[in-house]
């Protein structure tokens, strides 16, 4: 009936062997849990082995990303009324703007600078770091409630970038920079074009 032969009693492990295997399995699990899984998932490293293996960094990054995304969520909920005010203002004051922003980012930290732009408007931009590279994501978010999101350009450990940004929709478009260097990185951003305002979101 089955695609298999019946094992004889001597083919099977004894109860004592099985018990030994189970105890070993439990010990291995505890070791992995403390030395590998806790550091890699939560950045908690009671033994220091996680740091040695480079897994604590993984847990730390995951925790900071989670915290940032939760902060962002509560921020978004608080700023909804401001958004619609600035939208009204936008219809009156839509002129050519020029800005130069210089910001220093601590190791492991991130900042976000965005331009409020109407759909289709063009902005010239150029940014460079004084020393070191940054991970970046040039992206746009629609006004609160619109659910619109676009990523224009991304990069890792980049020192400079320039180009022309054309907004896909009304909203905030700009740069998310993360410093993964061991030292502080200063970035200088120049923008010029048809946008309403420049704003530090983070």
């Amino acid at each position: 009936m089955f695609n298999a032969q019946q094992p004889t009693e001597k083919d099977l492990p004894t109860s004592a062997q099985l018990l030994k295997s189970t105890i070993i399995a439990i010990l291995v699990t505890i070791i992995l849990l403390v030395m590998v899984i806790l550091p890699a998932e939560y950045g908690t490293d009671p033994t220091g082995v996680g740091k040695l293996l480079g897994l604590k960094e993984m847990g730390d990054i995951k925790m900071s990303l989670l915290e940032e995304s939760q902060n962002e969520l509560s921020q978004e909920n608080n700023t909804s009324s401001i958004d619609s005010d600035s939208l009204d203002k936008a219809m009156v004051n839509n002129t050519i703007n020029n800005d130069v922003v210089e910001i220093t980012i601590e190791p492991g930290k991130a900042i976000e600078i965005k331009l409020e732009i109407k759909s289709g408007s063009l902005v010239q931009y150029e940014w460079k770091t004084i020393k070191g590279g940054l991970n970046y994501n040039l992206h746009g978010d629609g006004y609160k409630g619109s659910q619109k999101f676009i990523s224009y350009k991304k990069g890792r450990m980049v020192q400079s970038d320039s180009g022309e940004l054309q907004a896909e929709f009304d909203g905030y478009h700009g740069w998310f920079w993360r410093n993964r260097e061991e030292f502080s990185v200063t970035v200088i951003l120049q923008t010029s074009g048809d946008y309403i305002q420049i704003k530090q979101m983070l």
């Binding site: 099985l18 295997s21 995304s69 962002e72 969520l73 994501n137 998310f176």
Partner: protein, 221 residues
Amino acid sequence: MKNLLFFIFIHVSLFAHGVATGDQGYIQQINGINFVPFMYLGAKHMVTGYDHILFLVGVIFFLYRLRDIGIYVTLFAIGHSSTLIFGVFADIHINAYIIDAIIGLSVVYKALDNLGAYQQWFGMQPNTKITTLIFGLFHGFGLATKIIEFDMDPNGLLTNLIAFNVGVEIGQLLALSAILILISYWRKQPSFITYSYSTNIVLMILGFMLTGNQLIGYFNS
């Protein structure tokens, strides 16, 4: 309603500044060779991937000699390692739903094989070693699709991929050891033979469910 809120939360947290969280978030933040972290991610993917685990349960269900278990697990590993590395480097985008549906069918296939269905229906037994290798190849494409979604940095990609693959093997060994211990306890009971028919039917149902779920996802996407 609670599910809906959960979905919205996930949606927002994934797209806040376009930065993903969790494993994918981590991978997008790092650069260069990270051997142990990718090994960990490979092992985690295998241990938490119930489709691979189900297939392994099917493969070793009737195997009790360590030598046989070793042969089949090695064949499966050779299969999925080759397509994992090939799939990522050739940048082969097989639709994730389709590949996962095939993985579901591999579970169904193995359950029927265990039940001796092919001998009854077709009067022949397909070579189990070759089919294990072939399904290994499909499972590897599933892993490759996953890695392409991770959006790994090209810097140090091959080394990181090899690390991921080593991790997949470690994860497979860990999962396999746990399954083997549980099955060995059960195999000593008379109920093993009594219920092995229904257990393989359950395995088959789970395989069909995986397939159906993925096909629904495919037609909704």
